[in-house]
């Protein structure tokens, strides 16, 4: 379980986080959605003890990250936004060092390495240097490394950024699998479809503040189920409706070309903040 109360952080005069509150229940995927610079990575860095907070509290499974950092860090695995694999080590050496950092016994490391390589489907890459892996394989290894010590909480900072759609879908499969194995997942992303597909609960973060928090369906339902997009004075406008019939009737009255589609999380974000996510 993750409990965050009134979390704040400033960089100089810029307020990166301004009193953020949320709770992530055990075994759920919590999507933390916002545009670049909204404060997503700052939140995850504070939650994992990489950056100091200015105010508020952070508890992971009941342990405070600044007062009991060692106990707290044993609770989670971290998949960072930027690949931080040890490029000069092989795939299995990356897992070995991670296991040693988490005080795993030698026999457990051997056993768990085999399990993880099977899990991320990289058994044949065991002896390969990490720097020679493809982007998708590096991401899979990052996830595998984060799971090496069987954490109950997994932080994932933009886990599929920069990956092609096919690999992204594959990573989503892994994330669902990890949740099914009982982990609590805190996921930051600016990919709408990623949050919609994966998250049980989503928070919209804008300018360091959570502006809405609900299930993806709940957030979308708040603005309607259907959207009509049309061009007005060369600007894309969107109108929301509760039923498809209402949307169709609206389109019939329009002279310009219109598109009728289902509402997505980005619509919910825009209607609440006036800003786009990506």
């Amino acid at each position: 379980m993750i409990e965050v109360n009134n979390l704040s952080k400033k960089f100089g005069n810029r307020e990166a986080l301004a009193g953020v509150n949320f709770t992530v229940g055990s075994g759920t995927i919590y999507g933390y959605l916002g545009p670049n610079g909204a404060g997503k990575t700052t939140t995850i860095r504070i939650l994992t003890g990489l950056t100091r907070r200015d105010g508020g509290t952070v508890q992971l499974n009941g342990f405070d990250i600044e007062r009991e950092p060692i106990k707290c860090k044993a609770q989670f695995g971290l998949v960072p936004q930027h690949t931080n694999l040890d490029a000069e080590l092989t795939v299995e050496e990356n897992l070995l060092i991670h296991g040693r950092l988490h005080h795993m016994a030698k026999a457990d490391i051997i056993h768990r390495t085999a399990e993880i390589l099977d899990y991320i489907d990289m058994e044949d890459r065991r002896k390969v240097l990490a720097k020679t892996l493809s982007g998708g394989m590096k991401r899979r290894l990052l996830i595998g490394r984060a799971l090496m010590h069987t954490p109950s909480i997994l932080f994932m900072d933009e886990p599929t950024v920069g990956l092609d759609p096919a690999i992204r879908r594959r990573i989503w499969g892994f994330i669902k699998k990890i949740q099914n194995d009982g982990a609590t997942i805190f996921l930051t992303t600016h990919y709408i479809e990623e949050a919609e597909f994966l998250a049980d609960k989503v928070a919209f973060l804008d300018k360091g503040r959570i502006v809405a928090e609900d299930s993806p369906a709940g957030l979308m339902a708040a603005i309607g189920e259907w959207a009509v997009d049309f061009l007005e004075e060369n600007r894309l406008q969107t109108v929301y409706f509760n039923s498809r019939d209402e949307a169709r009737n609206y389109v019939l009255d329009q002279t310009n070309g219109c598109t009728v589609r289902r509402v997505n999380l980005e619509d919910a974000f825009i209607s609440m903040t006036g800003r786009k996510i990506s």
Partner: protein, 247 residues
């Protein structure tokens, strides 16, 4: 409190092992040049230091002392590559290990590099016919010096913002000390005020202690104590610096 240091150390050792075929020739170049250019081409007089030693015999312990400093300090470069290029520092910081454990792992890695480079110098010396006494005192002074400079390197690595900054540190700290710390010439040849100034440098005391041990001459306990104190202060500085590295 220091649980987990072995993981940090093991990582550095694996990388060291992987690069060893390139590192040994690299470690050999400078001492080889010093031995050829200074020891053989310049000075072969039989009583260079007034204690009956030739210049190659005088130089070799100085080169060992210098290697114990430069190679231990080189761990800063490895840490910077890990921080700025590979972002591996975050992996250590997110792991359940304390900052002293991280520092200890890196310092021991620096000392291991220094030990290996020192051995290369002693082997080169033997090839040039210079074999001295590499006794317990020799290695104690060697390791105390490498402990001090590896600790200083870890601390400073947390403050530099780029590789260019690291190069500046080498220019302003390591290079002057390498040439003025009693490596290439006896300090007794300098005026008194110069000797007093250079006695501030830890390498001066390391050179004195290592040379005295290599020549089986009586050594000063004060040299060992000073190196140990400097080492402990630098180790503490490194721990504080790692703490401050969190933004």
């Amino acid at each position: 409190m220091i649980r987990g240091w072995s993981a940090v150390y093991l990582r550095e050792v694996i990388i060291l092992k992987r690069r060893i075929a390139k590192l040994i020739p690299a470690w050999s170049v400078s001492p080889l040049l010093y031995l050829i250019a200074f020891a053989y081409a310049v000075g072969q007089q039989p009583n260079f230091d007034g204690h009956g030693h030739t210049y190659p015999q005088f130089l070799l312990p100085g080169l060992a002392a210098m290697a114990s400093m430069t190679q231990a300090f080189a761990i800063a470069q490895e840490i910077n590559i890990a921080r700025f290029y590979w972002h591996i520092f975050d992996e250590f910081q997110a792991a359940p290990i304390s900052n002293p454990a991280y520092v200890l792992g890196e310092v021991l890695a620096g000392m291991t590099r220094a030990f290996m480079a020192g051995c290369v110098i002693l082997i080169l010396g033997a090839l040039f016919g210079v074999v001295l006494s590499y006794n317990l005192h020799f290695w104690i002074a060697f390791f105390l010096n490498s402990f001090a400079f590896a600790s200083l390197a870890v601390g400073l690595a947390m403050h530099v913002k780029s590789h260019a900054d690291q190069a500046l540190l080498n220019n302003f700290i390591i290079t002057p000390m390498a040439f003025l710390g009693g490596t290439f010439f006896p300090l007794s040849k300098l005026p008194i005020w110069g000797q007093r100034v250079l006695e501030i440098l830890p390498l001066t005391h390391a050179s004195k202690a290592i040379r005295a041990a290599a020549f089986k001459e009586p050594s000063h306990a004060s040299d060992y104590i000073l190196l140990a104190v400097v080492g402990c202060v630098c180790f503490l500085f490194a721990i504080i610096s790692v703490n401050q590295a969190k933004s």
